[in-house]
């Protein structure tokens, strides 16, 4: 990391504070992810993605920009990356997973806002995020209230585009969302100074689908009786998906999948027989946040599925590969993104059904509903999810927490007790 000091200084960052924050992320990474034993060799690449997120990847994007490409920051998996990629720009999710930047956000935001939003804004306000200064456009969306109003604050800092995500999924909502995707294309064409070409869009759709297929394959492997990969490592891969170059990422993930398939053939699993199989459902765990998965797995269980935005919500459903006509392609993209079952929708029956289906498909012993503190939509939806799971005979527990470490003792008791309760 220190090797990139010049680069970071050149971007006008507070380098000292930057190091403090990223050393802490690194320390947590070492204590949790790297402390695991017998990891697949090809995870090394994804570890590098995490490490490089504040060095090598910044450098790479700086070079792309010097060559005329644009850099687009996003905060939600509702943003259609296909359009960005087809215009030769670089998309990247900039959500914050560190508690260290939160005090900088709390200088302006109320305290009772979810840690993901506070961490994200804190990174921007503390002048430590290297992606801020190189961003040509930031893209927010109208999912939850905390985000919506934070965009108003962030928008003062530069070019900002807000996508209106509807709250229902009826015909009018579909039209609205389709129109939003079309408008987004117009805005991206302005930002990049390029015109969207049908062949390039078709290629971007194929690329993103390739990435989704590789992630779905990984998800399949987690259904194995003794999964070849820990939940923590699967999470690291997912976090990488949000920041890495999609082509390189897909190639490396396909290679990892091969290694994992080989592990399955040789009967090499990550847990002793009888370890409890857990699904995490709810809020995302973005880079820097390994808290819950570490907690569950250090208690002897294994996370075999993530029904989150750093999990199935990100890669489920492909964009229909129509090719040809630009309008038809954009319609296919809009349709695919509106299948994402974020808790901001009402009703959201698709999600409830999907949680139960995933719990069955992955043969889970229990579900941990993960709620980032003050995230009202996932917190309230947890009520219906819990009763649907109960009806299906799957025990569940809800964990509400933030990014700090102060509640670790309490959480440990709750998670361990939940696991003990599963040992019948």
């Amino acid at each position: 990391m220190a090797g990139h000091d010049e680069l970071l200084k050149g971007l006008g960052l507070d380098v000292e504070l930057h190091h403090k924050i990223f050393d802490s992320i690194d320390r947590i990474f070492r204590k949790t992810v790297l402390a695991q034993k017998d990891r697949p060799g090809r995870m090394a690449y994804f570890d590098d993605v995490i490490h490089g997120a504040h060095g090598a990847r910044v450098q790479e994007i700086v070079e792309r920009r010097a060559a005329g490409d644009k850099f687009i920051g996003t905060f939600c998996i509702y943003v259609p990356d296909e359009l960005i990629l087809a215009l030769g720009a670089v998309p990247m999710a900039l959500c914050g997973g560190t508690s260290l930047s939160i005090p900088y956000a709390e200088k302006v935001l109320p305290r009772d806002i979810c840690p993901l939003v506070k961490s994200t804004l804190g990174l921007a306000l503390s002048n430590t995020c290297p992606y801020g200064p190189i961003e040509d456009l930031a893209v927010g969306e109208t999912t939850c209230d905390a985000k919506k109003k934070t965009w108003d604050i962030l928008a003062a800092g530069g070019d900002f585009h807000v996508l209106e995500v509807p709250q229902k999924k009826g015909p009018r909502d579909r039209d609205l969302w389709h129109e939003e995707v079309v408008q987004f294309k117009v805005r991206l064409e302005e930002t990049t100074g390029r015109t969207l070409e049908p062949e390039k869009l078709a290629a971007a759709v194929r690329l993103m689908n390739r990435k989704r297929r590789a992630l779905a394959r990984l998800n399949e492997l987690r259904k194995e009786e003794n999964p070849p990969l820990s939940g923590l490592d699967a999470l690291v891969v997912m976090q990488g998906a949000l920041v890495d170059d999609p082509l390189r990422f897909s190639e490396r993930l396909e290679a990892l999948n091969e290694e994992l398939e080989d592990r399955v053939r040789r009967g090499l699993g990550v847990v002793p027989a009888g370890a409890k199989r857990i699904m995490v459902s709810g809020c995302p765990s973005v880079m820097g946040n390994w808290k819950l998965h570490h907690l569950i797995e250090s208690a002897g269980a294994v996370v075999v599925c993530d029904e989150t935005c750093t999990g199935t919500r990100y890669f489920s459903a492909l964009v229909e590969e129509r090719g040809g006509d630009l309008d038809a392609q954009i319609a296919a993209i809009a349709a695919r993104y509106l299948t994402i079952d974020c808790s901001c929708f009402s009703p959201n029956d698709e999600r409830i059904a999907s949680v139960v289906r995933l719990a069955r498909d992955h043969h889970v012993d229990g579900v941990v509903q993960y709620v980032l503190q003050y995230c009202h939509t996932y917190n309230v939806e947890a009520v219906r999810v819990a009763s649907a799971l109960k009806e299906a005979g799957v025990p569940s527990i809800k964990i509400v927490t933030d990014y700090s470490e102060e509640d670790t003792g309490q959480l440990r008791i709750r998670v361990e007790a939940f696991l003990e309760g599963l040992s019948r």
Binding site: Q410, I413, E416, R424
Partner: protein
């Protein structure tokens, strides 16, 4: 006595450490002492020359203990549930209020120790610690505090359940000449109000059993039972329920 029949249960709580020996399905010895930095040494001294088949530790200090003594680890949720079922086979719900947390556990009727549980989060309000701080503030010992609250029907309005704010509120009530007993009653009521929603969430079939040190406070048990519209069973040594359960977990 056959050594293989002797099981040890430890409950290393934030305030007190409890130790229970069981043999032949009965508690044959127990001990309770304050938790301090050297609790492990105290535990060890008490274990001298005892020949246990197996031991298990629950509570905040469970990992520390298992690192020093040869014993299993079990959470206080499971241990409390096992203990409660052993002490009162008709129990359906346990309300355990300890020094630093409170929990409500629904007992299973199958082979599992429990089906669901709730814990209070990150806050001293609604725990034994709150009552302890308030008793001291009013110049009562814990026993006097509970008794005093029972001796009056009068109460005062308290606006805060937060330990910090309630403290200053109590001080100003005292300064304005309020009856200590009435304040004591109001403080008891505020903890009962805090525990009530945790407990009311469960459909309790069978007895409601209370465990933990606060169960020794008759006023509190009374107020909570009134609020729940159900009788509450208090076993002879409610602080030992979790340690008994740990001994049972050792025997499993």
């Amino acid at each position: 006595m056959a050594a293989t029949d002797l099981f040890l249960g430890l409950d290393l709580g934030s305030r007190t450490t409890k130790l229970v020996e069981m043999a032949g399905g009965k508690v044959i010895r127990f001990d309770i002492f304050d938790t301090t930095h050297d609790s492990i040494l105290k535990v060890r001294a008490r274990l001298d020359r005892r020949d246990y088949a197996r031991a298990a530790a629950a509570g905040y200090g469970r990992y520390l203990t298992s690192a020093h003594l040869d014993c299993r680890v079990v959470t206080e949720i499971t241990a409390c549930a096992l203990g409660a079922r052993f002490i009162d086979p008709a129990a359906g719900l346990v309300i355990d209020i300890g020094g630093q947390d409170s929990k409500v556990i629904q007992l299973g009727n199958g082979s599992g120790a429990f089906t669901e549980f709730e814990m209070n989060d990150r806050c001293a309000a609604g725990t034994g610690r709150f009552l302890e701080v308030m008793a001291r503030l009013l110049g009562f010992s814990l026993e006097e505090f509970g008794r005093a609250a029972c001796e009056t029907d009068e109460t005062v309005a308290l606006s805060s359940m937060c330990t910090v704010f309630a403290e200053s509120e109590v001080i100003s009530l005292l300064a304005s000449g309020c009856d200590r007993k009435a304040i004591a009653r109001a403080l008891h009521q505020s903890v009962a109000d805090r525990i009530f929603p945790l407990a009311a969430r469960f459909d309790a079939r069978g007895d409601i059993l209370m465990a933990g040190g606060v169960a020794l406070d008759p006023c509190f048990v009374d107020l909570l039972a009134t609020k729940l519209c159900r009788p509450i069973v208090v076993p002879p040594d409610p602080q030992l329920v979790t340690a008994v359960g740990a001994a049972l977990a050792a025997a499993r």
